[in-house]
Amino acid sequence: MHSNAIKLIIITVLLLILSGCAARMAVLPGEVPPMHTVQEFSDDENVSRTRDPWEGLNRNMYKFNYEVDRFVLLPVVSGYEKAVPRPLRTGVSNFFANLREVRTLFNCTLQAKGKKSLVTLGRFVTNTTIGIGGLFDPATSFGLRRENEDFDRTLEAWGVGTGPYLVLPILGPNTVRSAGGFAVDGAVRWAIMNSIDPFGGTGARTELETGTTGLETVDLRYRESFRYYDSDYPFEYYMVRYLSSQQRELKTLR
């Protein structure tokens, strides 16, 4: 039963990839050749450095994310904006950003970045105490700049390549490596929560966790101004693919 499901998934994925490949051929049998094709311009350097062998699948996922945004996330975010006053929303953003300091801390440590680790530790301690559990961000005004490290960058520091482009459901533009990094970061967070276990088997934890994950998703979408297909530019997919790899590269320079 289980293996059948896996087979089905593999076949579906293969079909999607292959259908993507078919469309890449310039002219199919029965089609009138266009006046210009890309072959004429093969003497120029390519701009995109992101491999995208699963483009068909990625484009469908891109569209899926648009629909999720349209019918679920954006209405929820707009309700959130109406119901929760701005200072409180900023508090929520600060709270989750403070939780993410833990991720930054352990990844700085894994990359042996001493100074960044200390700054991040300083930020976490300051904001958790003086900043009342992370709702405020006094550390930034003390001159401790927020660093953003995750397991994706740790993998990069270890010399792992990005792998192909991958549009993830809800999370959007990624690479195989960053998707893996996201999973590892999530697992580490889960393990930490487990070992602290602040609710000691009262049963309140599961509901609370679900609620927190939901709120974090809303907060993430609330802070991200990107809207799928909002540019009305027919080649938006490629611009986003290019810019997301560019952004990743610039981040690693900091």
Binding site: L16, S19, G20, A23, R24, A26, V27, L28, G30, E31, V32, P33, P34, M35, H36, T37, V38, E40, F41, D43, D44, E45, N46, V47, D52, E55, G56, L57, R59, N60, K63, Y66, Y228, Y229, S231, D232, Y233, P234, F235, Y237, Y238, Q246, E249, L250, L253
Partner: protein, 425 residues
């Protein structure tokens, strides 16, 4: 140091000073026409606006049938900022390839709103969303056709907005190609009289569409290998920028970064020009593709292929980036209009794409005014003189600012608003 060295150094030190105080009393600081067009106006030299204007994007639903790849297109998107009281309404037309919420449009809207106007901004007829929804032919560039489409859309939007706002009278403004189109829309309005525009402002307009496009496309001839090697050029510029970013202590790629790059002479004059031309290609590629798909023109996409959402458009993107607007014009635009109007020659068509075709109207209509810059590179030699001849005192020329670089400069905004408010020149 030799005496020549001293003189050279003296001249060099004087150069920036010349650019600032050239006796005209005009304080826009960037003297290089490409740099000003890229950088725009430094934030500190823009007007101080008290708060954000209520800028909202709305959709005008059209019954246009859309191919599957434009599935998310739900109609023509236009942007408004409305007052709560009776006020004049400005229709604003965006420049080549721009949407109704392009940064320049929004900047103008914010300023006009704070000056007390209602504003309705429309995308350029060369913007894919307009080509798909509002263009009768789906082939943009024919100024009188595009003006007719714009006018129809204005009427439809106006009938939608009527109940929501109180309007005292109507004004029209457009920048770049939108400025040229504004003149054609104004002429149409003289016949139709729906709005009876009190004043029409053309900001950095093109005189002839073809010659302006040739000016911009020509900027690519100066890169190694010419226009065929724009990919290699782009990679080189990006590598330079990344390197510059790495060495400096920048927080993000923002205005500060761009200014620092400008002051550090990161790009040569030729490179800065080519960057402008590449960004022009990026918008024109969207235009060409959208038009080709809508007309089944067989230019890039096989005539009888129905594109699906999962289909890769990469090859079309790459091919269209390598096609110039002039290719589009000669290979696609001209044959299209010749097939619709047998006997039409290329010269006649070219003439129709120029202000010269409505010169008599422009010459006699006191409500139309032009604002441009001495160093606007979309005007080839002679065209500024042409504008001077036709518009006379209704033309304002700033000594520098490139193409729209000084649009948001305080003095420019103040002048523009003053012109829209006034009833006479």
């Amino acid at each position: 140091m030799t005496i020549f060295g001293r003189i050279l150094l003296g001249l060099f030190l004087l150069l920036p000073a010349c650019a600032w105080g050239d006796g005209t009393g005009y304080g826009y600081p960037i003297g290089d026409s490409f740099a000003s067009s890229i950088l725009g106006t430094p934030r500190s030299l823009r007007p101080n606006l008290p708060r954000k204007a209520p800028v909202t994007t709305l959709v005008l639903e059209t019954d246009q049938e859309k191919p599957e790849i434009f599935f998310c297109d739900r109609g023509l998107r236009y942007t408004v900022a409305f007052q709560h009281h009776r006020a004049p309404l400005v229709f604003l037309i965006a420049g080549t390839g721009a949407s109704s919420k392009a940064p320049k449009v929004v900047a103008l809207m914010e300023n006009l709103y704070h000056a007390g106007f209602h504003v309705i901004a429309l995308p350029s007829p060369t913007f894919p969303n307009f080509i798909i929804n509002a263009s009768t032919t789906h082939v943009p560039g024919n100024l009188s056709d595009d003006a007719a489409d714009l006018y129809r859309v204005m009427e439809q939007i106006w009938s939608q907005s009527k109940g929501r706002i109180e309007v005292s009278d109507f004004l029209l403004a457009g920048y770049s190609l939108g400025g040229t189109e504004a003149a054609f829309v104004a002429k149409l309005d003289e016949e139709r009289k729906i709005f009876d525009f009190r004043r029409v402002l053309m900001l950095n307009p093109a005189v002839s569409l073809y010659s302006s496009v040739s000016q911009i496309e020509g900027l690519l001839d100066r890169i190694p290998g010419g226009p065929r090697r724009i990919g290699a050029f782009y990679n080189r510029v990006m590598a330079k920028c990344t390197d510059f970013y790495r060495k400096g202590d920048f927080v993000a790629v923002d205005d500060d970064f761009l200014y620092a790059a400008y002051q550090g002479h990161l790009l040569s004059q030729d490179e800065a020009g080519a960057v402008i031309a590449v960004s022009f290609r990026i918008s024109s590629s969207g235009m060409i593709f959208a038009s080709d798909v809508m007309t089944h023109g067989g230019y890039l996409v096989p005539k009888n292929r129905e594109l699906k959402n999962s289909d890769s458009l990469d090859d079309y993107f790459w091919a269209s980036l390598h096609l110039s607007f002039l290719d589009y014009f000669n290979e696609y635009f001209v044959p299209y209009f010749q097939s619709r109007h047998p006997g039409l020659t290329e010269e006649e068509l070219l003439e129709a794409l120029s202000l010269k075709s409505i010169e008599g109207y422009l010459d006699s209509s006191a409500k139309i005014e032009v604002i441009t810059n001495e160093d606007d590179f979309i005007l080839p030699p002679g065209e500024l003189d042409y504008l001077r001849r036709v518009f006379g005192p209704r033309l304002k020329v700033y000594p520098r600012g490139g193409h729209l670089g000084n649009l948001e400069y305080r003095e420019n905004i103040a002048f523009l608003i003053d012109r829209l408010r006034s009833s006479t020149w």
